[in-house]
Assembly symmetry: D2
Homo-oligomer: 352 residues x 4
C-alpha cells in the first residue's frame, strides 16, 4: 500500500490523510495488528514496527512499503511518518510506552491491560490528566463486537427495563502451558470485568470466586472451572462461568436479565446441519474466529476517530478500574471470601 | 373436527363404562394398539384380539384379563364384551371389516388407509351413508400431534392471514426391503395429503412429482428423494420433500407461509449439547418416537368420544379423498406431468 | 369409569386390578389429581375424596362413579374400596396423614413437601423405617419430566464426563398475593434442590443466597430475583437464578457443565414463527403447561408400581433432605452468609 | 472461483499501489460503492465518479480528495488516475461501458446484471474472448457472503455426499412501486440462479414457475409469492420460494439436501430475547443489513486481486448463463410450463 498525499501531517496530525502507525510489540497480537492495518483497515498504514527482536522486525518491515523497523520505541515515535501508536508489547512495558507517547502527544491504541496493576494504572491516569485531554483508547475489543453493541444499545434504551443480573459464560477449549489461576482473572475474566462495567454503566463493588472440584482435563493446580460473582455499586449481581479447559471450543455469551425481559448474545451460529443422527453446527474454535470482526472494527474506529482528531472508546479509567477488580478477584479466588473493590474518585477527564 | 350426536347405539353399549375394544390385526400397529389400550388409555380395555395367526393371539389374549382371541373378525364383533372395533389389519382387509362393523353399528377406529383405492373407499362411504350416521374415525394420527394441532389452530384463527403455501419435509432414515415408488405415495406422502387437506380445509386439485437424480443410498429402482407438488382448489401451492433414505433420522416438518407471517413445526428438540466441536442435539430416530403421543392421544380421543356416544376426527370422506390423491400422485410420479384429482361431490353426511 | 372386576383387592392389595385411590385434599393440586386419575391414568380410579369442605367433596364425588366423600382422612383410608392414598392437603397436615397411612400399610403418593421442616420429616422417616419397607413416593414431579429424565440418563452414563456445575433458571411470570422470601425457597427453589440432589446423586453441603437490587415489578418486601448457590458434598457448584416476577412467562432450564461437554434442557419450543419483524415463538405461560406430562407420568408410574406391589421414586429421605436444605437456604437468604446443611446419616432403608 | 494470470496490464497500472477506481453510475448502488471504497476498503480510492447528473457527481467528487467528476464514462476511463472501473449504472448501459473498458484493457467490477438479455451478454462474452484474458468480475455478491462460502466449501469437499436438492427462500418485506412479475425473475430470482449454478457447479437445464393465489398484500397484477423450480444438467432439483411482499422482513436461506445430510444457511440470528410472552429475535430488515459484509468483501477481493494483476470471481459466462435462465424463467412464469434453457458451448476462456 502506498501512502496517500498527506501534505501536512507532521506532528500536527494527519488532517484526513492516511494515518502512519507505529506498532510497538510484534508478537502474536502485534503481528496480527500489522496484518490488519496493511490489508483490512482503510485510511492507515504501518509506518514503523518496534520490537527487541531486530531480525523479526527487519523481515516484517521489508514486506511493507514505507515501513521502518526500530528496536527503540521512542525512536519510532520520533519518526516523521508516525502519527499514532499501537501498543501491543507485554503488559509490564505499557507504562513506559504510554508515558513516551504522552510526551509527544501521540494518539495511542493500547492493548489490554492498560498496565498490570492498579498502582501503575493510576500513574498513567495522572499523566494523561496532566496532558489535559484523552489520548488513549484501551483495547477492550468486545465493546466493538456487533452482538455486544446491540446488547449495549438495548440496555441503554431500557428496552426491557433496568438490568438486574448478567449471566456470562467464558469457555476456552484449553489453556497454554503455564496458565495460572491468577491468569484466569487477569487474562480471561478481565473481559467480563470490562463488559460488566460497560454494559451496566456501573462500577464493580465486590467480588467472590467459587471454585468447584476441578475437571480432570485441567493441568495440575489449575482450579477450572470457576464461578466468579460481581456485585455492582447499584446492587446488580453478575455471575461468570469461566471454564478454560472445556475441550469443545470457544464460547462467550452474556445474558442480561432485566425487569421485563432477558436478552442473550453469543449463541453459536453459522451453518445448520442434519447428519448422522444429529442436528446442529460447529462451535467456534477460538477467540480469533469469534472476535476477528471486533478487532477489525476496533482498529478502524480508532483510525477514523484519530483522523478526525478525536479519542473514543475505553479510557485509561476503564483500564485502571479493570486492574483494581482483577486485584480484588485474585484475592477473592485465594480466600473464598467476598472482597470489596476500592477505587479512587473518578477524575473529571473521565466523566461519563 | 366434527362430532355426531348418536341417539341410539347398536348394542346397549358402554354407557360411560369401560369400552371393550376388539383389535383386528395384531401386526406391528395392532400389537402396539393392544399395549396402548392396556397400559396407557383410560376408560378402555382389550376385550378381543383378532388375527389369522391363532398362536400369536392366544399368547396375546392370555396376558390380558377378560380378553378373548378370535380368528374370525365377525365372531369378535359378536362377543358381548365388545363395544367398539379398532381395525389394524392390512389395507385390503379393511373394506370387509368396516362393512361388518356397520352391520352391527359398532364404532370403528380404522388405521389408514381407509381402503387402498378410491373405488373401494367409495363403497365404504356409501355404506356409512346408508347407516345415516358416522361410525368411523380414520387413523390419520398427525391430526392429534400437539404441534400440528397448534399450527391448525393458528391457521383457523387467521393469526397471520390466509395461508398461501405449505413447505413440508418428510425424511426417514431408510426404507424396509421391497419399498417401492408407489409406496412412497401411498404410505409416506399420504400423511402430507391428509395434513394439507386438514390444515388448509381445501381439497387437493392437482399433483406434480419431480424426481431428482437419486441418492446413492436408495435401493435400485427407488427414486429418492422426490419433490411432490400439490395445488389446492383455492390455488394454494404445497411442496413436500420426501427423502426416505436420508440416513440421519426421522424428520417431519411443515411451514405454513401466510400473508403476514410464517409458522413452522417439526424442528428437532430435546437436550441441547455442546461437545467435541459441535453444538446441537439428537435427531428423532423414527416415527414411533416422534408421534407416540399423537397415537396415544388419537386413541384416547376416540375412546372418550365413543363413550360419549359421538364420532369425531378424520372421516371416511377424508379416507376417500386421500385415496384419490394417492392415485393421482402415482400417475404424476410415472408421467412427470401435472395430474388433476377428480372427487365426487361431498355427501351431506360429511359436510364441514 | 367403572371399576374393573377386582375380586380380591380388599386390604390385600389390588392384585393387578384397578387401584382405588383416596385423594386427601381437594384444593388446586388435589382437584387436578382427581381429574387426572379419572380421565388420564390407566389402571386407577378415585374411590374416595377427602376435604374439610363437605360441599365441595359432595359435588366432586357425585360426578364420579363409586367415589365416596369423607371429611375424615382415616375414615377414607378405612373405606374397603381404597387401596392407596394420594396426599394433596396443605404441608402441615402431611405428617398426620402419612402416619395414618403407615398404620394401615397403605401406599402413598405425597405431594411435596413431605413435611414443612426437617424435624417433622425425621419423625416420618423413623415411622416408615419401623414399617420396614418403603411406602411413600414424594411428589417431586420434575423427576418424571421427559427432558430431565434424558439429562439424568446422560449424566448417569457419563456421556460428557463428570458433572462439575449446574446452571438452573427458574422464572415465573408473577407471584400470588402473600408470596414471601421464605416461600421463594420452600415452594420454588425446593424443585432445584431436589433436581440437584437427584441429577448429581450427591447431597447439598452448603447454601449461599445473593440478593440483587429487586425488580420494580416485585411486591414490596420480596427480594426478586435471587441467585442461589449450592455446593455439593463432592464439591460441585450449582447456581440457580430464581426470578418469580419476570413478567414474560414460565421458564425452567438446567445446564449441566461436565468435563467434556455441556447439556441443557428447558429451552422453549413449539411453533416457530416469522412475523412483524420478529422470529421466534411463545413462552410457556405456566407450570401446568410445562409440567403437565410430568404430573401425568408421575401418577401413572406410581399407579403402575403400586399395582405391582412396589415403591419407586423420590423417598422420604429425599423429602427430609429437601426440608433440611430449605431450612439452611432461608437462613442463608437472611444472613447473606454461607450456611452449611446438616443431615443425619442416611438410614439403610434409603440406601441408593 | 478461478483466477487468471495477467501478464500485461493495459496501463502501467497500480503495481501494488492504491487502486484508482472510476465508479460509473452513482444511484443507490453506485453511491454506496463510493462510500465503501472511501471508508471501508483497503488499497483503493475513488479517482472518478461518472453520472449524467452533473450536480450530483460534482457534490460527490468535492467531498473526496483527488476525485474528478465526469458525465462521459470514456473520459473517466481515460483519466490517468484511473486504473479500474466499477460499473453501477442501469443494466441497459452496461454493454457499452464494458466494451469501452475492454478497449482500454481496464479491470471491471460490473454490478449484476452483466447485461439485461442473453444476446447482449453473448456480445460481451465475445469481446472479452477477443482480448484473450478475463477482465470482468460480475457483482453476484452472495458468493462473498460468509455463510454461502461455508456452504460452498462443505459441498465442494463432499462433506455430506452429493447434493440432491436445494431449498431456497427469498423473502422481502415489500416491493417498490412498479415492481413486475418479470422483475421478480430478473432482479430477485437471479440471485438464486447464480447461487444454484455456483453451489452445484452445474448449469440450469429447465425452469418451471408455480404461481399460488397471491397474497392480499401484493400490488395488483403481481403474482406473489411464486415457487420457482430448477432442474440442473445433472438432474438436481432446486426450489425457491420467492415472496416479496411478506411484510415481516428480509430472509434469504438455502438448504442443501445431500446424500447423507443437509446443511442450511440464512437463519436469523443476533440477540435472543425473552419478553412479553415470546422468545426469539429480530428479523433482518433488508438486504443491506443482511449482505453488507458480502458487498464489502466482494469489493475488497476485487481490489486485492486487481492489485495482484488477477481476475477472480463470477465471470461474463456467469452473467450470460444467468441472463439465459432469466429469459427462460420469464417464459415459464407466463406459460406455467417447463421451459428448457439453451446455452452456447462454454468457451475455453471460461473453463472451470
Amino acid at each position: 500500500m502506498t501512502s496517500d498525499d498527506m501534505t501536512s501531517h507532521g506532528r500536527s496530525g494527519p488532517a484526513h490523510g492516511t494515518l502512519g502507525v507505529a506498532v510497538i510489540g510484534t508478537g502474536r497480537m502485534g503481528a496480527d495488528h500489522v496484518r490488519r492495518i496493511n490489508d483490512v483497515i482503510s485510511g492507515a498504514r504501518v509506518a514503523a514496527v518496534v520490537d527487541i527482536d531486530a531480525d523479526r522486525i527487519g523481515h516484517l518491515a521489508a514486506g511493507i512499503e514505507g515501513c521502518t523497523p526500530y528496536t527503540d520505541p521512542t525512536a519510532a515515535m520520533d519518526d516523521p511518518g508516525v502519527n499514532a501508536v499501537l501498543i501491543a508489547s507485554p503488559g509490564p512495558a505499557h507504562e513506559a510506552a504510554l508515558l513516551d507517547a504522552f510526551a509527544r502527544d501521540l494518539p495511542v491504541l493500547c492493548e489490554k491491560p492498560l498496565t498490570p496493576d492498579p498502582a501503575s494504572a493510576l500513574r498513567v491516569l495522572e499523566a494523561e490528566q496532566k496532558l489535559g485531554h484523552r489520548r488513549v483508547q484501551v483495547g477492550f475489543m468486545r465493546r466493538y463486537d456487533a452482538d455486544y453493541l446491540t446488547l449495549k444499545s438495548l440496555l441503554d434504551k431500557g428496552a426491557y427495563g433496568r438490568p438486574l443480573m448478567l449471566h456470562n459464560k467464558h469457555r476456552n477449549a484449553d489453556t497454554p502451558p503455564g496458565f495460572t489461576n491468577a491468569m484466569m482473572i487477569h487474562d480471561s475474566v478481565v473481559h467480563e470485568i470490562d463488559v460488566t462495567r460497560w454494559l451496566l454503566d456501573e462500577e464493580i463493588a465486590a467480588v467472590r470466586v467459587l471454585r468447584p472440584a476441578p475437571t480432570g482435563n485441567a493441568p495440575d493446580g489449575l482450579s477450572d472451572p470457576q464461578l466468579i460473582l460481581f456485585e455492582t455499586a447499584a446492587g446488580q449481581v453478575v455471575d461468570t462461568e469461566l471454564f478454560v479447559n472445556c475441550g469443545f471450543g470457544y464460547q462467550v455469551s452474556c445474558e442480561a436479565v432485566c425487569e421485563s425481559g432477558t436478552a442473550r448474545i453469543g449463541d453459536d451460529r453459522g451453518v445448520f446441519v442434519n447428519t448422522a443422527g444429529h442436528w446442529g453446527g460447529s462451535i467456534t474454535p477460538g477467540f480469533v474466529e469469534r472476535f476477528e470482526e471486533a478487532y477489525d472494527r476496533q482498529v478502524q474506529r480508532w483510525v477514523d476517530a484519530t483522523r478526525r482528531g478525536e479519542v473514543e472508546g475505553p479510557s485509561c479509567w476503564d483500564g485502571y478500574a479493570a486492574a483494581a477488580v482483577c486485584e480484588a478477584g485474585v484475592r477473592a479466588q485465594a480466600t473464598g471470601e467476598r472482597v470489596t473493590v476500592d477505587l479512587i474518585e473518578r477524575p473529571a477527564l473521565y466523566e461519563r
